[in-house]
Symmetry: C2
Subunit: 365 residues, 2 copies
């Protein structure tokens, strides 16, 4: 941290005063702060209006000395809810060399294409490096949350969530739509039959392509085994049964498997089955994500199990109304990042059927 | 998988029959299965009793042909709840070259030192490689759970939890006690004062050693900053206030900070503060674990922030009655493993005050 007490550089007579939640500054503020460095909203003449977070930043740098008699400390603590986290994010992004505006009409130009409803969802609009408010381009749409703030899944998809943790450190999470489709085609599987064993299905003497080409199930291992057994998860079995490729030896099919799934994991089973089906139908291959704490790990292309590459993304299937805790989200994203996969959420649509795919990743702005 | 149909190797006349949930086998079973390969419990003479999981394994290998007329498939599906997961774990451990016994008196010898109450909590007792049931040594105490089985935290600490996921893959989680103590001594801090800003505390012109030596707080960054500000989390501030090292400029101390903590995160705040205090008092330095989805990351030795090494373990503070889901546990453990830290849980004691430290890690048996 630098300790230049820069107050001496402030021209005498530059008064800054609060008006309706804005800070108005005259003198050469328009040229010094707005034109040269992207702060504020021009009011006509040399005067500009600063958003409180902009004024706080100028106070912190010593570019402004006081606002209505308040120095940095008094001004910062006079502001309302969420001001601390918003200030920390503003400070960090300025330090990274960006110009940014509070997501408020008048600060953000219509040339950015952002309308009032979009701005309502955001805290800051960040311009590309080297660009400013009047250039019409947007690098990041930023939403600021504290680590204890709930984040409705339905609100994510086109913003960067800047999470301010309890020690004031920042994590930027980029949220975008996602295309889960893959290149895997599995044709010509022969129907087979299996035995339901509590919450799994065993297929005896399975046709080879089930696992080798379709990557369904796991062969039971065992040195010197006298039997060939393929172990299917309930979700794999329910999908295969619905495709007409599996029946249960002692009777029943899809309905019995889905009933068992619901009995052991409730409506989460239906949700996972929907995501599983959507992935398979899109040409991707989901396998259990248990070791990663996820519902599925997904391979986009499986030519054969012998030539299997790494799975490319992890999926967690969530209900439409799901609300993330930033800490859980950070955990999922960190883990996925550590194993070089993308973290993807399969969100039920409002009607409970269609799936919305949401990718969340770490961003270094 | 091998496909030796070994039924031909079974001596004629070796009858296996169910008696009170055991499988009794005569012929040369004692020599072939018990003495040479660690299966079963001697009944006198050449007869032994096999536990069902042992009988299933011998059927799977083709070493037994039938039990009461049932082959492998019929026998496996005739068994009750949890038999599938237990069989998969037994098979895996045998494949890894271990002898193991079901955790039942008669199978497990008193020379192992395991009493009936301990066996009650377990599924299998695994002997060191090259050792068997009569050697008196134990390598692993195994508990088998499905990925959907709840695991009470209070039940963990001296067993390996073998989690069978929905596709039949296994994850072994070793659970042990843990000593969280460190080597950090921070003396001679001068008391200071701060300002409570919603859910964080700012210290203006902080004494250098607060952060540089004690690793309390994070300095507010900012190029050309005109002010020196240290950002404390509520839990850091509450701890420092209780030590007489921090007061709030506008009045109040520990009680006000704890009240604010409870207002923003409920009883989790008290739990985290207890763990924080226990760690600091033990000479370790906790900092936020947010980026890892944990409550804290912990440094055992901090000489100065300039010479900071990597944090050594992650901590999640949990209530006494906490119940793990295997998937969440797998997620925490996998993440910690990926960043080369241990995953540690700080569990409130039954009285809500003392802390029990539980480490959970991946094990490859």
């Amino acid at each position: 941290m630098s300790h230049i007490h820069a107050a001496g550089g402030i021209p005498p007579g530059m008064d800054a005063a609060l008006h309706d939640g804005e800070v108005r500054v005259g003198g050469d503020a328009r040229q010094r702060f707005h034109d040269a460095r992207g702060y504020g909203r021009p009011l006509g003449g040399d005067e500009i209006a600063l958003a409180p977070v902009e004024a706080a930043h100028l106070l912190y740098r010593g570019d402004l000395e006081r606002v209505d008699g308040m120095g940095f400390r008094a001004f910062l603590t006079s502001q309302g809810e969420r001001f601390g986290p918003r200030f920390l994010v503003y400070l960090d992004l300025r330090d990274r060399g960006f110009y940014l505006s509070p997501a408020v009409e008048g600060w953000v130009q219509p040339s950015t294409g952002l309308d009032a409803a979009e701005l309502e969802e955001l805290d800051f609009v960040v311009y590309p490096r080297g660009k400013g408010p009047t250039d019409g381009a947007v690098a990041h749409r930023i939403r600021v949350v504290g680590e204890r703030t709930d984040i409705p899944a339905a609100s994510l998809g086109d913003a960067v969530v800047a999470v301010v943790d309890e020690e004031g450190d920042l994590t930027y999470l980029e949220t975008t739509g996602f295309d889960p489709s893959g290149e895997t085609a599995v044709a010509d599987l022969e129907p087979t039959s299996g035995t339901l064993l509590e919450d799994r299905v065993l297929v005896w003497d399975p046709p080879g392509p089930f696992h080798d080409r379709g990557f369904y199930g796991q062969p039971l291992e065992g040195r010197a085994a006298a039997f060939d057994v393929l172990h299917l998860s309930l979700v794999e079995a329910a999908y295969l049964a619905a495709q007409g490729l599996l029946e249960l030896a002692d009777g029943g099919g899809v309905a019995r498997l889905v009933d068992r799934g619901r009995a052991v994991e409730g409506e989460r089973f239906d949700r996972r089955l929907r995501a599983y089906r959507a992935l398979r139908n899109a040409g991707s291959v989901p396998k259990t994500g248990f070791k990663f704490g996820a519902d599925f790990r997904v391979y986009r292309e499986v030519e054969s199990v012998d030539k299997l590459g790494h799975s490319e993304f992890l999926v967690r299937a969530l209900p439409h109304e799901y609300v993330f805790s930033p800490r859980d989200l950070a955990l999922d994203v960190r883990l996925a990042h550590g194993v070089r996969k993308r973290m993807v959420f399969a969100l039920d649509g409002a009607n409970g059927e269609t799936t919305r795919w949401l990718a969340v990743g770490r961003l270094t702005p």
